[in-house]
């Protein structure tokens, strides 16, 4: 058994060590895989803020992932075709600068989270799962029919966007950017959980009345958690689009929402590094099982099943044992 905080450090170190090893052994594809895992992990950490801390099981986080992706796609598309994003009421030019795109991605997904959260938080439990799914499907079908930005074909961006002072075309540099962001967000997540807001949120999840007696509005706490969660996942979406240099409606699909949720469950709900362990494991399984046979989904399914049935608390729970109070 390893203590969870030690495990967290170990996971991050491993996640950093593998791509560094790959640089020295000239295995650029390993770096790409690791970057993919880091970005998925970021999306899942984002969802975990709503799901783990706030108890909000959102089956529609692909909305934010997709909005982030399209923010990148739309701005970069206009930059590469030298057309403005919009002219009325005021002129907005396309851009290839990552920080600007991130900001746009975060603001738009935060705003979307505010709207969706306001409506969805009227419901609870299973109904909440389903209403968030409904928002996901709405945007999915919308993006398929949105011919201006490629519809189902999606948008291809030919060259990865720029980050001041870093050549993002070198795989390890882009990995480093994503990794730093992941670490920052995990840190934020840890601070958040211990902050007065995090504690109040935790209480609101368990017994809303207790929070109310202190004069706090549990719905407002949850809404805030939902927005923060959407912002982080939106940022992950923008990075994912940059990794692939491509966006498409699949980023909005319910399978995508499901996958983000599965990373968390696989790793362990409400564990700081659960989403990271889950995402990394999933990407590795996908990669290694894919080579075994055409029917590798069967093996993937069987492995997931074994984890659910025999590893309560996900992989992190399996390794570090101690069940933390999360319900």
């Amino acid at each position: 058994m390893i203590r969870e905080s030690n495990l967290n450090a170990l996971v991050l170190i491993l996640l950093l060590a593998v791509p560094l090893w790959a640089v020295f052994n000239d295995e650029p594809f390993t770096i790409t895989l690791a970057t993919r895992a880091v970005i998925f992990a970021l999306a899942a950490v984002g969802l975990n803020i709503a799901l783990g801390l706030g108890g909000l099981v959102s089956f529609g986080h692909a909305v934010f992932f997709g909005i982030g992706g399209y923010a990148m796609g739309i701005f970069a598309h206009h930059a590469q075709t030298y057309t403005p994003v919009m002219e009325v009421p005021f002129l907005i030019e396309g851009t290839k600068s990552m920080p600007v795109i991130w900001l746009v991605a975060m603001v738009t997904s935060g705003f979307a989270a505010l709207l969706i959260g306001l409506l969805s938080l009227r419901t609870a439990g299973v109904y909440f799962i389903m209403i968030t799914l409904a928002f996901g499907q709405m945007l999915y079908y919308f993006s398929i029919s949105w011919a201006t930005y490629g519809g189902e074909d999606g948008l291809s961006i030919y060259v990865r966007n720029e980050f001041p002072g870093v050549n993002t075309l070198v795989p390890i540099n882009f990995f480093a950017i994503c990794f730093v962001i992941l670490c920052l967000v995990v840190l934020l997540n840890a601070l958040l959980a211990k902050s007065p807001f995090g504690l109040a949120l935790n209480a609101a999840r368990q017994t809303p009345q207790r929070v109310q007696t202190f004069g706090l509005d549990p719905t407002r706490l949850k809404l805030l958690a939902f927005i923060i969660s959407g912002v982080v996942t939106g940022l992950a979406g923008a990075l994912f689009a940059d990794l692939n240099r491509f966006v498409s409606p699949t980023m909005f699909s319910w399978q995508m929402s499901g996958e983000i949720m599965i990373f968390i469950i696989l790793g362990g709900v409400a564990r700081l590094c659960g989403p990271i362990v889950g995402a990394v494991t999933f990407v590795m399984l996908e990669h290694f099982l894919g080579g075994l046979s055409d029917y590798w989904h069967i093996y993937l399914g069987a492995l997931l099943l074994i984890v659910v049935l025999f590893a309560r608390g996900g992989l992190v729970g399996l390794i570090s044992g101690r069940e933390i109070a999360h319900d």
Binding site: T123, Y127, M138, L304, V308
Partner: protein, 306 residues
Amino acid sequence: MSTILIIEQILNGLQFGVMLFLMAAGLTLIFGVMGLINLAHGSLYMIGAFAAATVAGLTGSFVLALMAAMMAAAIAGVLIEVLVIRRLYATDHLDQVLATFALILIFSEGTRWVFGSFPLFLNIPDYFSGPVTLPGGIEYPLYRLVLICVGLLVAGALGLLITRTRIGIQIRAGKDDHEMIAALGVDISKLYTVIFALGAALAGLAGALVGAIQSVQVGMGEPVLILAFVVIVIGGIGSIKGALIGALLVGLTDTLGGVFLPELFKLFMEPSAAQASGSALSSMAIYILMGVVLVWRPAGLFGARK
């Protein structure tokens, strides 16, 4: 747009709705009584269709094919319940989501492994094929009328089962209080298995009936699954009546939206743009409906208020 066309579209919406009901009924029972989110319900639908196609291919009998579909789906349902689901009742929804998602992967790829990657052939029997002329001069495919009737019959039978029979009483009691009916000497795990088998058989039946006019292929269950979830959420989880009304609402909205929204847009847009944006909006229509219903009544139309 003529009256005949409108009536025909309403029939189409009804037919779509009752087929959704067959899927949703099982889902809502399992959900309501056992509190289980069963993503693998779509796989049971697919298993029904594949079993029907196989048996129809071997024997040429559509009735045998339907029976095989229900049997196969029920057996698969019992297997999943006993081997996997039973261990998960005590855990939270999230574990169930992951487990049943894993089951989808296993069933889909397993089916492809056994039956190959190409769609299978399953056709409607000769005695149901072709159109009939309804009063008012409407030509309508006979088979679709049969589907509407079968759906309504099943709905009626389920209604009777729930309100009039011993097992129905147990199901209703189980929805409200698990411990209490266990204490009253009902074998709760057997009850669960029976409900699961019943829900699975209905899904299998839907798969076979619909498979005859659509294509029998791997992955056919997932789109229907999502729609069935929409249906039970609109109707209120656990309510058979809610599932029926939700299914008809979704069926009618989807069908009529696809026809009338583009027409509506043509009033103030040029035709091909109206066509494109109208159909875009219509594909979102049922999700908008669901959003509106949930905002208005957070526990669905017939859901229990808590």
